[in-house]
C-alpha cells in the first residue's frame, strides 16, 4: 500500500478549488469591464471542466488550461458591451460558495488523514 498524504479525493477537491477560483476570476474581470465600450462577457463551462478534471485527476495528469469562451445570449448595450451586473453578481456568489464548500471538504479530508496518523493515541 502506498503512503501518500495527498489522497485522490484531496487532489480532486484541489482541482475543484482551482476551477472555482477561475470562475471567480472571470467574474471579477467582467465586473471590472462593466463600463468598457465593446467589451464582451467571458465565461467557462464549470461542469464540463470539472468532469474533465476528475478524469485527469484519476489518471494522474496535470491540470489543463481552462477553456474560456465569450458568453452568448446576453443583451448588448448600444456601446457594444454586454456585461449583465445581475448575472455577474450571481456568478460571484456561486463561485464563492463553491470555494467555501471546497475548503470545508478539503479540511475534512486532511482531518481524516490526521486522524489516521494519530490512530494509536
Amino acid at each position: 500500500m502506498n503512503m501518500e498524504i495527498a489522497t485522490q479525493l484531496s487532489d480532486q477537491i484541489a482541482r475543484y478549488l482551482d476551477l472555482a477560483t477561475t470562475e471567480a476570476k472571470l467574474t471579477a474581470v467582467n465586473m471590472a469591464n462593466v463600463d468598457t465600450p465593446g467589451y464582451r462577457t467571458v465565461g467557462m463551462d464549470f461542469e464540463a471542466e470539472m468532469r474533465e478534471a476528475l478524469v485527469d485527476a484519476g489518471q494522474g495528469h496535470a491540470p489543463r488550461k481552462v477553456r474560456v469562451t465569450e458568453v452568448d445570449g446576453l443583451i448588448a448595450r448600444p456601446d457594444g458591451n454586454n456585461v449583465s451586473v445581475d448575472r455577474e453578481s450571481l456568478n460571484l456568489a456561486e463561485a464563492q460558495l463553491k470555494f467555501r464548500t471546497g475548503v470545508a471538504l478539503l479540511r475534512q479530508e486532511y482531518q481524516r488523514v490526521l486522524d489516521a496518523i494519530h490512530a494509536d493515541k
Binding site: D18, T27, A32, N33, T36, Y39, S89, Q96
Partner: protein
Amino acid sequence: MNLFGMMETSGSAMEAERMRAEVVAANMANAETTRTAQGGPYRRQEVVFSANQGDPNFLDSMTSASAGGTATTSAVLQTPALPDGTAVAPGVHISAVVEDSSPPLKRYDPGHPDAGPDGYVSYPDINPLTEMVDLMGATRAYGLNGAAVQAEKGMITSALEIAKS
C-alpha cells in the same frame, strides 16, 4: 494570476471609476467657467475606458520559473485565454480623457468681462442631468467592484483555514 490577482482586477476598476467620478465633479464645478488657460470657455471632459491587455512578460517569466517546479503551478498561474489565444483582460484602465467638441452655449450678457463684441458670452455646454447620471453610474460600478473585493477577501480568508486544524 492567483487569488490576489483578482483583487488587482477589481482594484483597477475601482481606480478607473473613481477617476470617472472625479472628471464628472470637475465638469460640474466648471459648469459656469468662461475663462480657461487655453482660452475660451471650459470644455466638458469625458473618460474612455479600455480593457487591460495583461502583462505577457510577467506571465512568461512566471511560467518558465515554475516549469522546473511542480506541474500544477504553471497551469494555475496562467491567465485565462479565449480559444483564439487572446488573453482575457485582467482589468480596466482609462485610456484617454477626451474633450467634448460640441459648441459652447451662448448667453446674452453684454456686461460680462468675457462677452464677445456681439454681447454674447460663451458658456460650457454642460447638462447637470447628464453629469448626475454619469456620476450615479460611476458610484454603482465602484460599489459593484468593492463588493467583488469583499468576496475575494472572504475567499482568501477561507483558504487560510485549510491549514488550521
